[in-house]
Symmetry: C2
């Protein structure tokens, strides 16, 4: 028995915009799994066109008659579903809006556009009574958007903690496991083709920030855009930080964090390197894998893990959305729309309650620890662990704090820099994922 | 903006059958999160009744006027949605079928019923045009059913590997980490109230087998019932096995496995203790947590992790389904139905390709390894690693094989038992989750 009785007269037409890595895989899977898709949808899917930049490029396995370089004409063609996997913001938005105006449901993998201006897309989808699905926009193949939008619809999410950029996770894994410095792992990632054409999108955290905005909006039913996300990249992570983390039983990850503020009056969305305990489920997410850890009031802690990028994994997520949108066409229904009813404001990162690790080169004389402890106490920050290493010119202190506001922790670090007992602030990093947070 | 414009005249009525741990939490969440649920559904949810066994039991926070001990009358009351969280097979089936006949959509957490006779429920749902949702039936709060039914609908799953029974995972974690033997961890689990009233449901793997059947049916679009599942429990797992696993860098887990056969002509569904490498994502799933690892052709490897049991986590999954079913009522649509179009047969476990660990007490004399290696070779089984320990009366051999059919591996063990160089077969266990399988 199939999901829905197959109506022999109904065909679901699909227009594909984008013929790159993901688009090629989507086209391949549409062909190779056609019989499965037909059974799951209740009607055959028919690819009506593929808009590409370069008509001359060889595309083995793809019928040349499907290709066009007029993406706007394809977007306006009135297909049941338009799949947008070309990326970019301005052109993609114009194409998606044109498609919706022509009555097409849209499946997109476009995190940049969604994070910049999701509201416009949602509004157009609602106006035209069509679907907007975007599972592939965050964490590639990992089913994450649908669980947040639908499975957890009866619960209250309190925190989302994710490793959502595979390239930086690969680099940090190599620093941790092979003791390679930042320059070396950057070169390796570049040689492997892991970095975006503009590598700052990865290493400065902008890619992760776009995904954080999308996740935060879904988790907290409040509008969040890229501009709301506090963002620090990994380019300042040093081997000193890596070694300090190792000594404490921690590992460094670039995290996307979205959380309710302590009093529940707003949300804070931030991307930055953070130390997490090695027994935290996210700590074992190695190399280019992605994972998102979600805490909800009733459900407790959950984690979703898998491949965050790559043509086939991203195409798998696109195809899942395509089946959902196609089934909605067959049954005459529409999937979930925008959910921003909570309307919570995004608060400045300074209001986040976090923990810090601080690594100091200090003078090796009596009273040093007392002066440093006072700097923390004066700023209202409580110390959890202090570790003293070395002597003389090598004297060092590693401090890990209890929770305090990010503002208080920054002020503490500013105070430490002024102390004559502190020769140098070697490293500062937030700490996440500890039990009892 | 809410998911759907709220129609002030539309109320979604909900009848709750079962007032135990889960039912109490469902009732609590329906009240406490009423405003959220209304915004997410587009209409308020109204609890019309709760069927319980004992009307006299005090139920703080629950309006006594809602209680009834006539569960059949409540099931037949024509509520928009009937939530069944009473458990058991016969009575629950009669109530669910009566509810569907009265036009109600059904949300259930009943793994035993679904694994025994899901087909009857699906058929009734299709006949009456109502929804059947059951996210809470497997792995509690972890969104797993919806991802398999919907997110991966455009992909082909090749293997599912899950830790789906929290009690046995707790026991095995304690054996591994605290060197406690089976009797000790059984007593501890009993003292903590982790074991089912009939503990064989947990320790003999029957609970995991029911969940394996549900997962296999969804993953492979083929009908699978409890009777199709090969099942071995953990009661024969010894500290010798635990120590042997530790020496090899492995850990023992009770796994539910559903996979395509090597030639794709059928599926194999099995529950048994298995050794997995410590760097496998499932290895870090400790204590009572659950996790399910899924391999799909395009998506690659994914893992879903979280709390597999408990009132609130299970209620979170029920509420997510309730929101989906309620939204369908508001929009006049119906969610996914049964999907068994692939119609693959379930093959005997003997056809599974697996690896074995074999732990032997052997005679300490020349030629022992040769005779044992011959026993493997004669049965067509290739050895991956041999480890020799001890001397004299303590001489032992630990063998880990390459992949072979389960039948060939069993024959090998039978042959080993007959060898005069083998004093005792100390332990035999399957090995899963290795790279390159």
């Amino acid at each position: 028995m199939s999901l829905t009785p197959v109506n022999p007269d109904r065909v679901i037409t699909v227009a594909l915009i984008g013929g790159g890595t993901v688009g090629t895989q989507v086209a391949r899977l549409l062909t190779e799994t056609a019989a499965d898709l037909r059974a799951r949808v209740g009607a055959p899917l028919q690819l009506t066109g593929i808009a590409v930049r370069d008509l001359g490029k060889p595309r083995p396995g793809i019928d040349p008659a499907l290709l066009t370089d007029d993406s706007m004409a394809l977007a306006r063609s009135g297909a049941d579903i338009v799949v947008e996997v070309m990326g970019g913001v301005e052109d993609a938005r114009a194409l998606i809006l044109a498609a919706m105006e022509a009555g097409s449901s849209v499946v997109t993998a476009n995190k940049a556009l969604l994070a910049a201006d999701g509201a416009t897309l949602y509004a157009a989808a609602a106006r035209h009574g069509v679907d907007l699905y975007f599972e592939a926009s965050v964490a590639g193949a990992i089913p994450l958007i649908r669980p947040l939008r639908e499975s957890l619809a009866g619960d209250r999410v309190t925190k989302v903690l994710g490793i959502v950029n595979g390239t930086t996770n690969y680099m940090l894994t190599k620093m941790d496991e092979q003791d390679a410095d930042y320059a070396a792992v950057f070169a390796e990632a570049e040689a492997l083709g892991y970095l975006e054409a503009d590598p700052t999108l990865d290493v400065d955290g902008h890619d992760a920030a776009a995904k954080a905005a999308i996740l935060a909006e879904l988790a907290f039913h409040s509008r969040v855009t890229l501009d709301d996300v506090y963002c620090e990249g990994i380019s300042k992570v040093t081997l000193d930080d890596v070694h300090a983390a190792q000594k404490m039983g921690f590992v460094i990850k670039l995290l996307a964090v979205a959380e309710l503020s302590a009093d529940g009056s707003g949300i804070i969305v931030r991307v930055h390197p953070a130390m997490i305990p090695r027994d935290h489920p996210l700590a074992s997410v190695r190399l280019a894998f992605n994972a998102v850890f979600v805490e909800a009031e009733a459900a407790g802690e959950m984690m979703f893990y898998g491949r965050g990028a790559g043509g086939a994994p991203t195409a798998s997520a696109v195809l899942g959305d395509l089946v959902a949108a196609a089934r909605n066409r067959v049954t005459g229904s529409v999937g979930p729309g925008e959910s921003t009813y909570s309307g919570l404001p995004v608060l400045p990162v300074g209001e986040a309650l976090t923990r810090y690790y601080v690594n100091l080169d200090v003078a090796d004389r009596p009273g040093v620890l007392a002066s440093i402890a006072a700097a923390f106490a004066d700023n209202g920050v409580s110390i959890q662990v202090v570790r003293q290493d070395g002597h003389g010119d090598e004297a060092g202190l590693i401090v890990r704090t209890h929770r305090a506001t990010d503002d208080a922790l920054r002020r503490t670090v500013d105070t430490l820099r002024e102390l004559d007992t502190v020769k140098r602030v070697v490293g500062v990093m937030r700490v996440e994922g500890e039990v009892g947070e």
